[in-house]
């Protein structure tokens, strides 16, 4: 009856069971890191990727705390961060664009209040606006810029266009001229949706103005004539078929995407932010259009209160998770040291946020100069709507923008979708 092997077998079974449970526990924990500070940024290409890593190492050596940087592509970053937000555990230091998304994280008590940061005199106070919520500061900026048309001067010249368009009529005329010359007028990554929402946002900024936008957001009502008209203008533009072939499934930054079309000099222009020239080079694996790359603001529109010096814009910043050690403020200040700001501007091609730009970037390149000039002329700025509004609204605007240019919905349906989303959010 008593098999001498029984006992060891039972032990073995128990051991196996325990090992299994341990493995499972370890799996559940795989998202965690042993580092004191996890550092999530979106500069997933060199040289900036290595520069962030180097800064993290240097500070780590100084402070004795470990920092683990993670470079995450922007779309993945957004989804991973929102999952992390729902889990109630944000990284020690992470990329943010401010606005409604940051506000939602702040409301959930997941973000560190850094109003008392000692090195704030190093940055331009204007750059802090996107990260200030109810008078408290929640992130440091490292980049500040605007969205506008980046265009290829050679292709414009080839089509016989000598001056950049300043009104919407001139703009659509230029699109037609480019088309007639056999050049793809506009590169667009419609699969990513957000590059499309820039068009709708700019058109509404021109037609209803920034105050009008603010009032609509306040009331949750986008039914005004200007909003419908903006959608119609965008639909009309799409009807001209100005985008590259296959734009419907193209992304912004991947192979054969929007930035690659610009980088390879195939498309004549794109509506994009200050990071565009860098991504053009990265995504195409080329040197980009180089000196042939120019910048002009989104054109003006007759009949609306908006003017061409009002920019859609924003920048990148870093917020700290509520659970981060208090030395995180030291790390933030380390990143803001003028020498380090200069490295970031050089390697990441950022638009400087320094209080004294000359100290950080004595000589700007043409791309940085274009953004700096636009910022200097700017009379007002509007944060990207998919960041300014709560995620449920922002993603509807992105979605509807895509549907509109594909001709799947009309501008009235666009407005209805946005209104319904606001109503559900109340």
């Amino acid at each position: 009856m008593r098999n001498p092997l029984r006992r060891p077998r039972a032990l073995l079974a128990a051991g196996a069971a325990a090992a299994l449970a341990l493995t499972a526990a370890a799996c559940g924990d795989s998202g965690e890191s042993d580092a004191d500070i996890t550092f999530w940024h979106i500069q997933n290409e060199d040289p900036m990727k290595s520069t962030w890593a180097a800064m993290a190492d240097e500070w780590s050596e100084e402070s004795g705390l470990t920092v683990e940087p993670s470079a995450i592509a922007v779309e993945d970053f957004k989804t991973r961060l929102s999952t992390q937000t729902q889990a109630g555990d944000l990284p020690g230091l992470y990329n943010t664009w401010g606005g409604g998304v940051l506000a939602e994280q702040v409301e959930a008590g997941l973000v560190r209040d850094i109003s008392g940061l000692e090195c704030l005199d190093k940055v331009n106070p204007i750059a802090l606006e996107s990260y200030t919520i109810d008078g408290k500061l929640y992130a440091i900026p490292f980049d500040q810029g605007v969205v506008g048309f980046w265009y290829n001067k050679d292709l414009f010249a080839q089509a016989g266009i000598t001056t950049t368009p300043t009104t919407w009529t001139e703009f659509t005329a230029a699109v037609q001229t480019l088309k007639d010359a056999g050049i793809t007028p506009i590169a667009l990554g419609a699969a990513d949706k957000w590059p499309v929402h820039y068009y709708w946002t700019y058109l509404t900024m021109r037609l209803v103005g920034l105050d009008g936008l603010a009032a609509a957001a306040e009331a949750g009502d986008f039914s005004g004539e200007g909003f419908v008209q903006a959608g119609q203008l965008l639909a009309d533009l799409a009807a001209m078929e100005p985008f590259q072939e296959g734009f419907e499934s193209a992304t912004y930054g991947e192979v054969d995407g929007q930035a690659a079309h610009m980088g390879e000099g195939i498309a004549a222009m794109e509506l994009m932010g200050q990071w565009a020239p860098q991504v053009q080079r990265d995504a195409s694996g080329t040197e980009g259009p180089g000196d042939a790359l120019g910048f002009f603001p989104f054109p003006a529109l007759d009949g609306g209160p908006g003017v061409a010096t009002e920019f859609l814009g924003g920048g990148g910043g870093f917020a700290a998770g509520a659970d981060a050690p208090e030395e995180i403020e030291d790390f933030m200040c380390y990143l803001l040291e003028e020498e380090n700001q200069a490295r970031a501007v050089k390697d990441g091609n950022f638009s400087t946020v320094a209080a004294d730009p000359a100290a950080v970037v004595p000589e700007m390149n043409a791309e940085q100069q274009a953004i700096a000039d636009a910022l200097a002329k700017a009379t007002d700025t509007q944060l990207y709507l998919d960041q300014a509004y709560p995620p449920a609204i922002g993603s509807i605007i992105n979605d509807a923008s895509q549907g509109l240019i594909l001709g799947e919905i009309d501008s009235a349906e666009f407005v209805t979708m946005v209104n319904e989303a606001w109503a559900a959010e109340q």
Binding site: A24, E104, G109, E248, V255, H261, I266, I396, E408
Partner: protein, 327 residues
């Protein structure tokens, strides 16, 4: 009634009824051993399957963005009412239905035919079997990236091949809303036919050769052999592959999400993608929970009906009456 089923029955009867021939080694294990073996799986199952399912059933009745503790804003059936009027959700059902129909009408018969071919003896048979099974080994994400490059709009391999054949113009493989779903179906077929083929091959190999010999002696033609022996005896395998195919389609996510994100504008969106977008992109966890409950119910109802009316003959004896002879 087939010979195999009779065999199963008589086996079951023997094991349960008469003198226990294998009793000595098959002794009932002690409660402690049982618990040690069952507990890890059971705990994991409860923790990661049952609890989340019940929790989703709870949050589906709330307006909730997933932040700041448990949901408080009770919404009753509102999420479900929105759901049945949601064009994207209804579209998902249509797209899932289309892929299911195509799978059963095209993918499975193709896999069946290949399995029959590969059952024959010919040189290189093993190499072919291996080759056809390889796509199934790739993860869905890798497959999607691969086909993303093949169908890339400007430098894609597919367009290059067409151009090489002298075709004029390009095809919007992934950008044309009218064809993207069919392209995805093609990729799904490429990926999964090998899996179904292996199942069919195994099913075919289980059919005793004696049956064919006997039929041939009686003068049966090749067509008759297939119709009256192969097809009926492959029934259980065919029924289970249809089941796996349908359930797999309902849950389709990775491949499509990586390839098209469900676009252009919902043209290739699936139930799981809609759920993901609502829950994790828009932060409407309550609504996404309602959607996941709908998915769960669709799978459950289908599984129950299918088990009750289609699979019942196959599982009879094997699953339902193992203990039959004892009592």
């Amino acid at each position: 009634v087939t010979p195999t089923r009779d065999q199963i029955r008589s086996d079951a009867g023997r094991a349960g009824g008469g003198a226990p021939p294998r009793r000595g080694r098959g002794r009932r294990p002690g409660a402690g051993t049982l618990a040690a073996f069952i507990a890890p799986a059971l705990i994991l199952f409860l923790l990661f399957v049952l609890v989340p399912v019940l929790f989703a059933g709870y949050t589906a009745f709330f307006r909730w963005n997933g932040l700041g503790g448990l949901p408080t804003d009770f919404a009753g059936l509102e999420n479900f009412r929105t759901l049945v009027a949601d064009e994207v959700f209804l579209g998902d059902l249509g797209r899932i239905g289309l892929i299911t129909v195509l799978s059963i009408a095209v993918q499975l018969p193709m896999a069946f035919g290949l399995a029959m071919l590969l059952h024959q003896r010919f040189p290189g048979r093993t190499a072919f079997r291996l080759l056809f099974f390889v796509p199934y080994i790739l993860t869905e994400a890798v497959t999607a990236v691969l086909f993303g490059l093949i169908f890339s709009p400007r430098r894609g391999f597919a367009d290059a091949v067409l151009a090489g054949l002298g075709a004029d113009g390009r095809i919007g493989w992934l950008s044309d809303r009218g064809i993207v779903l069919f392209v995805i179906f093609g990729i799904l077929t490429w990926k999964f036919f090998g899996f179904h083929m292996i199942l069919y091959l195994a099913g075919r190999q289980n059919i005793p050769e004696e049956l064919y010999e006997a039929a041939r002696v009686d003068g049966a033609t090749g067509r008759q052999l297939f119709r009256h022996i192969t097809l009926p005896l492959m029934g259980p395998t065919v029924r289970i592959t249809v089941f796996l195919s349908v359930i797999g389609t309902v849950q389709l996510f990775d491949l499509v999400y990586v390839l098209t994100k469900g676009g252009p504008y919902h043209a290739s969106e699936t139930l799981a993608i809609t759920m993901y977008e609502q829950g994790f992109v828009r932060g409407q966890i309550g609504y996404a929970s309602a959607l996941s409950i709908a998915m769960f119910l669709i799978s459950l109802v289908f599984a129950l009906i299918y088990q009750r009316y289609v699979l019942s003959r196959d599982t009879q004896g094997a699953l339902t009456s193992t203990d039959g002879g004892r009592t």
